[in-house]
């Protein structure tokens, strides 16, 4: 499950990562040797937010997902390169027509209460998600064109998923964490008391949850990938970023997310390793394409030319980011950098505005959500950058829910001109919900992007199973969208994290999931 939401989780929890080849200062990472591992080691992490519920099919917040990631496991997990790997399923195959997926499950898995894990648990989990009474937001992942995926138990350790039509993103959804049938059956899953003392199949067992203070997990000695090295993981709940950093410096935490402003100071501290890594997130300026001035492609391209991304990244992220030109992230396997780019060029911007019939510019209002400092700063900087080509951008800072209400209002046209916001992409490159014309006015194509070729390619992309073919399809999609510039893609943020040098077993170099991707391998030094 955390495989699906870990990107979001990272943003808030910000585990560490390895500094990529000296982009912003180099620092050698010294990890302790596994022979130094303390068999009674306890790792202390910070969740950064309150845990709401420890049931992977119900939770939707990053703190809950982080804890669930260590307690539960799914049929498939994703490695640091975002490639699927066997987990509860030893292997899987897909039928020639791409509709039937068969998963062969491990025989040696026990639930934390000692009961054996079987294909019935898998079926129960997916059927529960599909149950309309269960308040799971993941239901739409298992419904294709209005038809649910059917899960069939073929043998005690074999399960089949029958799809109404070929659907490539299904493999990612199949990695969903599995919940125990023998404990949930007959209870109301939404309010079950098990949601506060969960039983899973993952490397760590639930021990204690002190509301608002910490959650403690202990080693699962029967874990099927081998006994985890840590005796316990303590997840503290420290909502304030600065306080968490101080707690890290005081030795009360083993890891902390590092705000860009503190980066240089943190580098001087002893006994820590600092990591930096890319994520699946991008920030953009989106245009409401129903507005007359934004209807013209040349105006959008002009604004893209007017943006100095280097300045944005240097001022807002202190250099810890990279410029974005396409609606995909470089860490994704489906990324392609071969897209039309509109680098900073105010002269060209002015010329395009003139051609589009706005020689004296125009005025529009940009929405930005309150509390997100990066986006608030970006709005002010863009305001100045656009002023240089004669375009007046007003900034309206709004509370998150209020902004979503405007953006998600199911009506046409929507009542905003432009907005600065970000997407945290899923593991699968399928971007149907963001770009397909059917996803307007209800859906996440709230800017009303309509391109017949993109629509066709998006449909093709999700029904093609072969990865290499999909790569080509998505490269074309990114090219077409970048040409149209319905968003001005701004930047990819880079996560900076620090981990105490007593912690070993980290993934180097880390992928978007950070260095603690395999919790069973992590240890602390004696």
């Amino acid at each position: 499950m955390w495989r699906k939401t870990f990107i979001l989780l990272l943003l808030l929890v910000m585990l560490g990562g390895c500094a990529p080849s000296g982009q912003v200062g180099k620092r050698v990472v010294h990890l302790p040797d596994p022979s130094q591992a303390d068999p009674h080691g306890r790792l202390i992490l910070n969740l950064g937010g309150e845990v709401s519920i420890l049931n992977p099919i119900l939770s939707s917040d990053s703190a809950s997902s982080a804890v669930e990631g260590a307690i539960f496991s799914g049929m498939i997990r994703f490695n640091e390169k975002l490639e699927p790997e066997p987990d509860l399923a030893k292997s899987w195959e897909v039928s020639k027509d791409g509709k039937t997926w068969t998963f062969h499950l491990r025989w040696d898995v026990l639930w934390h209460d000692g009961q054996p894990f079987t294909a019935d648990d898998v079926k129960f989990t997916f059927d529960s998600i599909l149950d309309p009474k269960v308040n799971s937001v993941r239901r739409s992942d298992y419904i294709i064109d209005g038809q649910p995926i059917v899960f069939k138990v073929v043998g005690p350790h074999t399960i089949q998923a029958v799809l109404p039509k070929p659907f490539a993103p299904f493999l990612t959804s199949a990695g969903m964490s599995i919940i125990p049938k023998h404990l949930y059956q007959g209870t109301d899953i939404n309010t079950a008391s098990l949601n506060r003392k969960p039983i899973g199949t993952g490397p760590f067992k639930f021990k204690e949850w002190q509301t608002g203070d910490h959650v403690t997990l202990v080693r699962n000695n029967d874990f099927y990938f081998g006994k985890p090295k840590l005796e316990a993981i303590i997840y503290k709940i420290i909502p304030d970023e600065n306080a968490a950093l101080l707690a890290f410096e005081a030795g009360e935490l083993d890891e902390a997310g590092i705000p860009a402003k503190d980066y240089k100071r943190i580098l001087t501290l002893p006994k820590i390793n600092v990591f930096e890594y890319d994520t699946l997130l991008y920030t953009y300026l989106g245009f409401n394409l129903t507005k007359p001035y934004f209807k013209d492609k040349r105006v959008r391209q002009a604004l893209a030319y007017a943006v100095d991304r280097r300045q944005l990244i240097n001022l807002i992220l202190k250099g810890h980011g990279s410029p974005a030109y396409a609606p995909s992230a470089p860490v994704s396997w489906a990324y392609s950098g071969d897209v039309p780019k509109y680098p900073f060029n105010p002269g060209k911007a002015k010329q395009l505005l003139k051609e589009a019939g706005y020689p004296n510019g125009f005025e529009f209002t940009c929405l930005v959500n309150q509390g997100n400092k990066e986006r608030e700063k970006a709005a002010v900087i863009l305001q100045q950058q656009f002023a240089k080509i004669g375009v007046k951008m007003n900034v309206r800072v709004m509370e998150w829910s209020a902004l979503l209400k405007i953006v998600n209002a199911p009506k046409d046209p929507k009542e905003f001109d432009a907005l600065i916001i970000g997407w945290s992409l899923g593991l699968d490159p399928d971007a149907y919900s963001i770009w397909h014309s059917s996803q307007y006015p209800k859906g996440f194509n709230f800017i009303k992007y309509q391109n017949k070729d993109v629509d066709r390619l998006l449909e093709e992309g999700r029904t093609t199973i072969n990865k290499e073919e999909r790569k080509k399809i998505y490269a074309q999609i990114w090219k077409l969208i970048a040409e149209d510039q319905p968003y001005v893609f701004l930047w990819y943020p880079r996560v900076i994290g620090a981990v105490s040098d007593r912690v070993g077993g980290l993934q180097l170099p880390p992928g978007p999931a950070g260095p603690m991707i395999y919790m069973e391998k992590v240890f602390v030094k004696k």
Partner: protein, 325 residues
């Protein structure tokens, strides 16, 4: 007196219903709903609509209020929409931590503010009064989150005397109770100090002003003219009267003590009510917000009642519930 108390308690009922009605509508006026939190590109709007319907949020607000009220009358405060747990349990779970933190801070504040205020009034314009004034203004001007971080930096990071965040040390989980109690005390020091320093200022000024006003009264002059010792004049004649406004403040701050301190709790990772409440609002977690609102409303009313009763006790001129002769 009993009759008066009974009457006041009876007034609670229409008052609480009125408060609940207004708050219920106001929180539903705020844009968004609990499903906003689920907004990611993979979640279809119809799924959000289904979950809203499961929560009963698709019905008109007036109907929702009616259901809520009926449940309350049955003693059911509803279920937290995100955790699926009863609201009452969520509130009661946070209460001890909050009472410990804000309770200690308030007691400390009153214990310090009253003597400081009285002394600076008595020794008006002395160096003592001036330094208390300076300190008070500095305290009022200091943002609590900043002070909290500075204290943390000095006492937890640099000196390493005290724990920086949280309420417990998890390693002491299985230790005897007195070690755990001592551990909680250590964790309390920084947040309580921060809260006290920040709220001390205002109250000290208040007490000083109240005392000064009384000291200028005729009966104080009379007492002094009678040749009473200054000690008696200050403590017996002046202080008792100067405490009256402070009693009001004490009564009015009762809801704060129960409501928690959001900023302090957030910075120190303290598991209190303040964090619960603010989070509930951001999540639009209606049953939880209503639970907290009703709880605070009840406390405000009780606090006011308590202040009135204390008034009568401190000031014999006030007679509650009796018609003027």
């Amino acid at each position: 007196m009993t009759k008066y108390l009974f009457k006041r308690l009876l007034q609670l009922i229409p008052l609480l219903i009125g408060i609940s009605l207004i708050s219920f509508f106001v929180i539903h006026l705020a844009p968004g709903d609990p499903t906003n939190l689920f907004t990611t590109p993979n979640v279809k709007p119809e799924e959000l609509a289904r979950i809203r319907a499961n929560f009963g949020l698709d019905k008109p607000v007036i109907i929702q209020y009616f259901y809520w009220l009926v449940n309350i009358l049955k003693g059911n405060f509803g279920t937290d929409l995100l955790t699926g747990r009863p609201v009452v349990i969520e509130i009661l779970e946070r209460l001890p931590a909050t009472l410990l933190l804000t309770g200690s801070a308030y007691i400390l504040t009153f214990l310090l503010a009253i003597p400081l205020g009285v002394l600076s009034a008595v020794k008006k314009n002395s160096w003592f009064d001036k330094s208390v004034t300076l300190f008070s203004f500095a305290g009022m001007a200091t943002p609590s989150f900043w002070l909290a971080l500075i204290l943390m930096l000095v006492f937890a990071v640099k000196l390493d005397w005290l724990p920086a965040v949280g309420m417990y040390t998890f390693t002491l989980k299985d230790s005897p109770w007195f070690i755990r109690a001592w551990d909680v005390c250590l964790h309390l020091i920084l947040p309580v100090t921060t809260m006290t320093l920040v709220s001390l200022a205002g109250l000290t000024r208040y007490q000083r002003a109240a005392m000064l006003e009384i000291l200028n009264k005729d009966y104080i002059r009379t007492a002094r003219a009678k040749g009473l010792p200054e000690r008696v004049v200050i403590f017996k004649h002046a202080l008792r009267n100067a405490l009256i406004p402070i009693v009001t403040i004490f009564g009015l701050s009762l809801p704060d003590i129960f409501g928690g301190a959001f900023i302090i709790e957030t910075v120190f990772g303290w598991p209190g009510m303040g964090r619960l409440g603010v989070q509930a609002v951001f999540q639009r977690n209606y049953p939880l917000i209503m639970g907290i609102v009703m709880f605070s409303a009840f406390l405000i009313i009780i606090g006011n009642l308590l202040a009135d009763l204390l008034y009568a006790w401190v000031d014999p001129r006030i007679r509650l519930g009796e018609k003027k002769q």
